[in-house]
Structures are given as structure tokens and as C-alpha cells.
Amino acid sequence: MALFSQLLIGLINGSFYALLSLGLAVIFGMLNIINFTHGAQYMMGAFVAYLLLQHIGLNYWMALIFAPIIVGAIGIAMERLFLQWLYKLDHLYGLLLTFGFALIIEGLFRNQFGSSGLPYQMPEQLTGGQNLGFMFLPNYRAWVIVFSLVICLGTWFIIERTKLGSYLRAATENPALVSAFGINVPRMITLTYGFGVALAALAGVMAAPIYNVSPQMGAELIIVVFAVVVIGGMGSIMGAIVTGFGLGVIEGLTKVFLPEWSNTVIFIIMAIVLLIRPAGLFGRRA
């Protein structure tokens, strides 16, 4: 019993790892920037959902649509106002700038809402659960896993199998050539950032009913997601998805068999991967 319920929690965490590392990989591909604000944007997604419900009465389903749009729009503004000036510089400046933004956003939210978590009601359609015989499966958790899988695979499909995705991949390889074909590359970069940020916000909305909504919910998660990204390598979209879910499950299993190692296991796997395959499981050698 404990095994299956920890496996379920592992899959839930894995959903968030996958969504967040997917967003990081998409952004890194186009912008060459590691988006340190990603954790803060995930947190903002959860807070926007909370505020929409508290002040306008928009429910969870509306939040799933509007929170990513709102937070994505803020991301687009950020890209236009600040990030775009850094593309010609060393990658490290992008990391430092987005780290600064993470501090600002998390600090502002902590000033406004305090450090303790705020509860967010589960949508009533998804309360309760199914008795599968060997375990009890809460409906909401099943929804999170299925929905994030759909979003991940949808993103993979758009990038790897559509015309738009082929433009994106081409612009990642050679932006100068793609713009010579008359494609507006800067706008594509802006929209890509917005999309990656929206994915983080979507993950935040999904996380809101499971964990409490709190200003620091993204800060530590993003460090784990960085480790996930190092393990998977950012070269492959499918790699990010598989690594995210896989590590969630491994973490869940560790909670059953070696509980004292459960919160460090991902970092230990990272160390082992660096020893054996320095480029990451799905990475191309830089």
C-alpha cells in the first residue's frame, strides 16, 4: 500500500519536474538563458489562481486558462523590457538577471502574503477518488498526472511535428539564416519565453490544491529542477519529459525503501550521471 501511494506522489512530483524542466529547455533552446525566475513564475501561477478565486470568483478551471495567460504576459513584458538586452552577452548574465527577478518577485509576495501557506480548494468535480483494490486513487491526483502528460506530449508534438515547431528548431540552430527567410525571429523568441513561463504558471495552478500556495513554493523546487535538467540534458524535449517523470518515481520509491535519502536522491543521481555520462542522459556533448 505504502509503495503504491508513494509511487503516486512520485508521479505527481514527476509531473511538476517534467513541466518545469520542459519550460526551462524550451526557453534555453531559443534564448540561451537559464531562466532562474522559473520557480517564481510557478509560484505566481499558483497565486494568480488563488487571487482569481478570492477576488473575482473565477474557479479552478478558469484559472487553468487565465493564470498561464496572465503570468505568460508578465513574462513577455519582462523579456521585452530586460532580457532582450542580454542575448549577445555571456549566458551567465541571463542567469544572474533572472536570479535577481526571482529575489524581487519572491520578496514582494512574501511582504504581501506572509510566509505561511494559503489553502486553495480543490475543484469539486475532482474531489473524492477511486478504490482500485490495491490502493485508493484520489481523482485530483489522477487528473494532475494525466493532464500534465497531455500538456508535455502536446508541447513535444508542437515542437517536433508541426511547421511552427520546425521554425522554432531552425531558429535555435541558426537564427540569422531563419530571419533571412523572412521569419520574425525576435518575436518568436519573445513568444517562446512567454510560452515557457506559461507552462511554469500552469504547473503552479495544478500544484495549488495539493500543496499550499506560498511565496517560497518555487524557490527550492527550481533547484531540484535544475538537477533534473543536468541529469536529462536540455538537448531533447522528450528527454526532459522522461527524466522529469522518471526522477519523480525514483524519488517516490526512495521514500519507501530509504526514507532518509529521499530528499537528496536526485542530487546523488546527478553526481552519478556526471561521473558516467557527463553530457546528461539525453544531452549532446557540448
Binding site: 534555453f28 537559464i34 530586460f82 538586452w85 542580454l86 552577452l89 555571456d90 549566458h91 551567465l92 548574465y93 542567469l95 544572474l96 538577471l97 536570479f99 535577481g100 527577478f101 526571482a102 529575489l103 524581487i104 518577485i105 519572491e106 520578496g107 514582494l108 512574501r110 511582504n111 524557490a219 527550492e220 533547484i223 531540484v224 535544475f226 538537477a227 535538467v229 543536468v230 532518509e260 530528499n263 537528496t264 542530487f267 546523488i268 546527478m270 553526481a271 556526471l274 561521473l275 557527463p278 553530457a279 557540448a286
Partner: protein, 318 residues
């Protein structure tokens, strides 16, 4: 990182020795009009920032996990001084050795990847060791290790005397500072700079760049440990704050504000940031927001930092 480097404009430059004398002069008279504990704290962080700058400024490696070495050295120094009754010099040495060992382990793994991945790996290892520190019984959890005895240095100098403590901290800081200065101006340091500018070319010239990077990393970790251990003796406390990720961000900020890749920049940056924290202590949570704003402003507006801009303006090396 080429835009960081201040061009070597003259063969013999006296600007650095002069600036060094100005700094020593300042440290000699400062206790007369600045609270000594503030000065000592700022000096510990200045050494920490110099150690961090050795990597980013001269090897081009951004470590986002230097709190690991600072914090764990702080814990080991505090614990060995308090629980085992080590004298301060031995306690600090214990901290430095711990930091060097962790630097060797984490560094040998992290240098297997470059650029942005290096930053993420160092951050991840630091987070892992933070989580270990949260659970390890000897660290005292949320309370940390408090009331660390300052003890008697070499059985001669009573560090409970504020003047003795101040002189000791100044000596430790200057020793660390001069060591770094010596390293970056040695043939070894020239190879480090070559790796920063173009690692592939350094490899093609026959340098085993991984070894150079690892030695620089261990040295940086050990000096960060020296700063952390000294801080534990000075402030008589080691806590989770020293080892958590915001501390890693703070040291980046100090070096960035002062000027990455400048000799004196991290010292000035550390004094600015510590002073800012002191004066802003009453506005509490806003400190984080303001630090974030400083980060953004530095990256967008003056990437050279205070000392880097000054050096550029006066056309000298600092």
C-alpha cells in the same frame, strides 16, 4: 567573459600596490570610527567574495553554490571549537580542511560540464549539503551552533579582546587576499586566464585544463572555508543561513557589485552589501527585494561593477 577584463594597458602598473596600501591604511584606522564587529563581519565576507571571484573572474566559472564551503566550514569550526574544545587556529583549520575536501568532491564532478550547467551543478550540490545540514544532529537544526568560544590563538592571544580579534581577522583577510593576488599573477594564474578566454585553445596548447580548473576550485573552496570558519569565531555562531542558497546568491552579488574579475572589487562589494543589510535591517523583508533590484541594475546597467567602472574611468588596473 571578455567584456569584464580590464585591458592590461601598461607593463608596470603601480595602481594595485597603491590601492592595497590605501586598503591597509583604511583597515588600520577604521575601528576608530566604525563598529569593529561590523568591520570584522564585512572582512569575512570580503574574503568569501574574493575566493568566489577567483573562479568567476579568472577562470570564468560561475559557482552558484559557494555557501556550501562557507557554511560547512563555519559549522565545523564552530563545532570543533565548542564540542571538542579546539583552539581557534585548529578549529578554523578544521573548517578549511572540510571546505577543501567538499570542494574537491563537488568540484571534480562540476568541472565535467561547462558554462550554465556548471552553475546549476554547483547550486544543486550546495542544496544537497544544505538538506544534510538541516538533518544532521551536530548542526543544531534551526538553532544552529550558538555561543561558540573564541578561545586563545596559539595559546597566546586572547580573542575575547575585541582589538586582538580585529587584528587577527585583518591578518587572516590580508593573507587570503595576498594569496589570491599571488595566484592570479603567477604562471598558474595565466593559464587560468587562458582557460577563461578560450578553453579549447588552452587544451590545444597542451594544458590539462581540467586539472587547472580543479586546483582553482579547491583553492576557492578552501578560502571560502577560511572566511566561513573565521566568521564562526568572530560572530560566535554557525547557522543554516550560512549554508542555504540565498548565501550563495549573496556572494555572487558582492562580487558583481564590486566588479567581477577585479582584484579589489569583491572587497568593496562585500562592504557595500553588508552595510546595506545593516542599515536596511529594520525594513526586514525588503532586503531581499532590494538585493534583487541591485542584481538587475548591475547586470543591465553596470556590468563592470564599482571598481571595474572606476578602473575603466581612470584607465588603471584595480
Amino acid at each position: 567573459m571578455t567584456d569584464l577584463t580590464v585591458a592590461n594597458r601598461s607593463q608596470t602598473s603601480y595602481s594595485e600596490p597603491i590601492a592595497f596600501l590605501v586598503m591597509v591604511g583604511f583597515l588600520a584606522v577604521a575601528p576608530a570610527f566604525i563598529y569593529p564587529v561590523f568591520l570584522m563581519k564585512a572582512l569575512c565576507f570580503a574574503l568569501f567574495a574574493c575566493a568566489f571571484n577567483l573562479l568567476i573572474g579568472y577562470v570564468g566559472l560561475l559557482s552558484f553554490g559557494h555557501a556550501l564551503y562557507f557554511g560547512w566550514a563555519s559549522y565545523l569550526t564552530a563545532y570543533s571549537a565548542k564540542a571538542w574544545g579546539f583552539p581557534p587556529e585548529l578549529a578554523i583549520f578544521t573548517g578549511v580542511a572540510t571546505a577543501a575536501l567538499f570542494g574537491l568532491i563537488a568540484g571534480s564532478l562540476a568541472i565535467r560540464r561547462q558554462g550554465i550547467y556548471f552553475a546549476m551543478i554547483t547550486l544543486a550540490f550546495a542544496q544537497m549539503m544544505f538538506l544534510v545540514a538541516v538533518r544532521a544532529p551536530f548542526t543544531g537544526g534551526e538553532d544552529g551552533i550558538q555561543a561558540v568560544p573564541r578561545g586563545t590563538l596559539f595559546g597566546l592571544v586572547n580573542l575575547n579582546d575585541q582589538t586582538n580579534m580585529y587584528i587577527t581577522v585583518v591578518v587572516i583577510f590580508l593573507a587570503g587576499f595576498l594569496l589570491i593576488y599571488r595566484v592570479i599573477n603567477s604562471p598558474f594564474g595565466e593559464v587560468l586566464k587562458a582557460i577563461r578566454e578560450n578553453e579549447a585553445r588552452a587544451i590545444s596548447l597542451g594544458y590539462k585544463t581540467e586539472r587547472y580548473k580543479l586546483v582553482a576550485f579547491v583553492l576557492s573552496a578552501a578560502l571560502a572555508g577560511l572566511a566561513g570558519g573565521t566568521k564562526a569565531i568572530v560572530l560566535q555562531i554557525a547557522s543554516l543561513t550560512d549554508v542555504n542558497w540565498p548565501m550563495s546568491g549573496e556572494v555572487v552579488l558582492m562580487a558583481l557589485v564590486g566588479g567581477l574579475g577585479t582584484v579589489f572589487g569583491p572587497v568593496v562589494g562585500a562592504f557595500v552589501i553588508i552595510a546595506m543589510q545593516n542599515y536596511l535591517a529594520q525594513v526586514g523583508q525588503w532586503v531581499t527585494v532590494i538585493q534583487g533590484v541591485v542584481f538587475v541594475a548591475c547586470v543591465l546597467l553596470f556590468r563592470r561593477g564599482i571598481i571595474g567602472e572606476l578602473a575603466n574611468l581612470l584607465r588603471i588596473r584595480l
